[in-house]
């Protein structure tokens, strides 16, 4: 029985790993609703990748000590809080 449980667990983790790209690249924390998001930042000028935000999408945004950040409201609706460091200042952004 123990062997079957272990096998089931391994299969479940493998399926989750396949299904959620964020787990594979290690840049996105496993989350539940209401669990904080590990911040991953992507400036459009830094790569050809797009941040995936529509122009009219609502964001919560801030600038501290010359550094600026934007956090998508639809994404915050899923996670409700982001922990980040902006301009050397630790901040928690909540929604």
């Amino acid at each position: 029985v123990a062997g079957k449980v272990i096998l089931f667990g391994v299969v479940a983790v493998f399926v989750a790993w396949l299904a959620v790209p964020q787990l594979r690249d290690g840049s996105f924390k496993l989350i539940r609703p209401s669990e904080p998001v590990t911040v991953v930042l992507r400036g459009e000028s830094q790569s050809s990748l797009k941040p995936g935000i529509e122009p009219d999408e609502q964001v919560l945004a801030l600038s501290i000590n010359g550094e600026s950040r934007a956090y998508s409201v639809p994404l915050l609706s899923r996670h409700e809080i982001v922990n980040d460091v902006v301009g050397g200042v630790p901040v928690a952004v909540t929604w």
Binding site: G43, I53, L62, E67, S68, V73
Partner: protein, 184 residues
Amino acid sequence: VLGFVPVTHTTWAAWRELHPDTLVLDKHDRSSRDSYQSYYGNGSAGVIGESVRDERLPRKERVVGVAGSTGVKAYPFSALELTLVVNDSFADLDVVVFLDAPTQTGLAYSRTVDGRTLTFDLAPYGGGIQTAFVDRENGSQWLALTGRAISGEMKDATLERVLSHLSFWFAWTDWNPDTALYGD
């Protein structure tokens, strides 16, 4: 008590134009659909509900809630959409509250600069991120979305954001049952 950092609740396009060097939380191409979209538009007070029912405004009216050290006040979007700029004083604060209607960006600044209290009007030119105030006292122009003076005697001065945030009316009154209400 955690310190307060003012945020700007606006559109991605407006923020990116204001701050071309901004970084953004990576969405990993997740949908731009907000899972609370229907909640924003219905009459529900949310999962927890409300402990205070203040009928001066509809429950889901959006307000710019401003807190002074001796009192709080709410500025409804419905009123700001008519005037766009409100010069006001309450508690220990002299404030200017602004709504950029196209992006639904509501901001509150102290209108005390270098010990002087200024009075602002919307400039009859500009638009978008170039929307500007003009102060009556010396005619300086101030960008409304950043609070920074771009011309005149006060050039390069910056209006200080006051403790404030956007909220639904029911949530604001639940936390601040004794709130004053602009236009009441």
